[in-house]
């Protein structure tokens, strides 16, 4: 690793390759301080996400939840910033917690609308599926039997029978 070409003291950490007007390659090797001095330090940083900037700007303007980056889902623990960095949500509840910024994001990516049109689950309106409960109860029953908790096992068996009849 070479030294900074400007101060010739510190380690060069900033490397820039430019093509000048004549088409020749010009390389620069500077330390952080000298790069900042020449106003070059920002050139190497990744570009700011304009959408996010705009989103924060709009949110701040509205005064509503002024800074979306402070939002955190209490169920899965993910923050809005983490979501924006990885692009994936942590749980279904995030759609409620981040509803405002997410709605804006979804309107943008889905051509203007953030309201679902189309298929809905057949079970919508039916509160619960007995099969799911039965399966969960059967697992609990196995555990109770394995743990020799026969009182609880009998209780679970009766509830399973009841559900299976319904």
């Amino acid at each position: 690793m070479g030294l900074c070409e400007r101060c010739k003291k510190a380690q060069a950490t900033f490397h820039l390759t430019n093509i000048d007007r004549a088409g020749a390659k010009v390389e620069r090797h500077l330390c952080d301080a000298c790069a900042a001095h020449e106003g070059l330090l920002n050139a190497g940083k990744p570009t700011v996400d304009l959408n996010e900037l705009l989103e924060n700007f709009i949110a701040a303007g509205k005064g509503a939840g002024a800074d979306v980056s402070n939002l955190v889902c209490e169920e899965c623990g993910i923050s809005y910033v983490e979501f924006r960095n990885q692009g994936l949500l942590g749980c279904a509840h995030d759609y409620e917690v981040f509803k405002e910024p997410l709605t804006r994001l979804m309107e943008r990516t889905h051509g203007g609308s953030a309201t679902h049109v189309g298929k809905t689950p057949k079970s919508l309106g039916v509160v619960r599926k007995p099969q799911l409960d039965i399966r969960r109860l059967k697992r609990q029953l196995e555990e109770a039997v394995a743990g020799e908790d026969y009182e609880r096992a009998a209780e679970l068996r009766d509830r399973i029978r009841e559900l299976e009849r319904s």
Binding site: L89, A92, T109, A114, K119
Partner: protein, 353 residues
């Protein structure tokens, strides 16, 4: 126990038989649905044990559905790298699913027309593949599979946002329609921009053979929707069925016509050089083979040659890929050995025709 994948490798899935509408240009239609179970975290926040619970719940639901009785169940987590690569080459799982971590599975129909990836980016990714342009048929089939699975589990569904997905780019319908096209003439005449334009008009994306971030090998392109929210499945499907795909097919046919009329020798030269290389080469990379096979396919469909039938050609596209080649050969091969084996395999297949 024998490996179910050893049988799969010998033939092409039903969707690659080359029988569907407009199959000369439209290789296949794929529809997929993203679904998540209610009451479980999305996968980026799911612990190993939760992942396993999700996988068990989905596997059990698939096994209980009478419609999905014949599905083959594969534990992707337990597969070796070669078998996982094989499934990617057959479009049964994504690269992401192959390279992922933790409990993840695959259930697929033996004809390979339908498959369910369990614990990919979402808890379920259901897909249906069909030969040629069959968007409506694919939708009807996947709709039925979705209902059959849902009989035995609960999906996460939001009154405003629809089916909830780990990434908001899939939310709403959770549907992704991808149509794979073979457009050699548009590439030869430098008119691919027309495809981009047709797709952009309807906010559709154009990608390479294996989807996101892949290049267009052998003149194959995938057109897929990006909007999943605010438009119904049927509206999305109709864009493909009645608008964008017929338009692209027309462009490709016009380009083939123009080549036949104005530069038949240039066209024949491409086609016959490809035949020559495929029949004579001693070393061949998969990219090179894809390009030659693409030109032969065009030759077949423009009536310029008949030295090979479509089924053989379609099988070759699949079997010259690295994992297929190694499975057929029965052992692992280095890059150069693969090139030798690939060239030999193609020579044999094309001489017995």
């Amino acid at each position: 126990m024998s490996n179910p994948l050893d049988l799969v490798v010998r033939q092409a899935g039903e969707w690659l038989r080359g029988t569907g509408p407009l199959h000369e240009i439209v290789i296949s239609t794929r529809v997929r649905l993203a679904r998540n179970l209610r009451g479980f975290a999305f996968l980026s926040r799911a612990e190993a044990e939760t992942r396993r619970d999700i996988a068990d719940t989905v596997s059990a639901a698939v096994r209980r559905a009478p419609l999905l009785r014949d599905f083959v169940h594969i534990d992707v987590e337990q597969l070796d790298e070669l078998d996982r690569a094989l499934l990617v080459e057959r479009h049964l799982i994504s690269r992401q699913h192959a390279e992922g971590v933790g409990a993840r599975r695959l259930a697929f129909d033996p004809t390979e027309a339908a498959a369910i990836m369990i614990n990919e980016e979402d808890h379920l990714r259901i897909q249906v593949m069909r030969s040629g342009l069959q968007v409506e048929e694919a939708w009807r089939q996947i709709d039925a599979i979705d209902d059959a699975v849902e009989e035995h589990l609960d999906y996460e569904f939001h009154p405003q946002f629809g089916y909830l997905t780990a990434c908001p780019t899939n939310v709403g319908t959770g549907i992704r329609v991808s149509v794979m096209l073979h457009l050699p003439a548009l590439r030869l005449t430098n008119e691919l921009e027309k495809v981009g334009q047709a797709a952009r008009d309807l906010k559709l994306a154009v990608r390479g053979l294996h989807g996101e971030g892949t290049e267009a090998l052998g003149d194959f392109f995938q057109v897929s929707n990006q909007i999943t929210l605010g438009r119904s499945e049927v509206e999305i499907i109709d864009d493909f069925r009645t608008r964008v795909i017929p338009r692209i097919v027309e462009y490709e046919l016009a380009a083939r016509d123009a080549l036949l009329r104005t530069r038949p020798h240039a066209l024949d030269d491409k086609i016959w050089r490809a035949v020559g290389a495929l029949r004579s080469a001693r070393l061949m990379s998969s990219n090179e083979a894809m390009q030659y096979l693409s030109h032969v396919r065009m030759g077949l469909h423009t009536g310029r040659l008949s030295v090979v039938d479509l089924q053989t050609l379609n099988e070759l596209f699949l079997q010259i890929q690295p994992a297929h080649l190694q499975k057929l050969h029965g052992e692992r091969l280095s890059g150069e050995q693969r090139s030798i084996e690939r060239a030999a395999f193609i020579r044999t297949r094309l001489s017995s025709n």
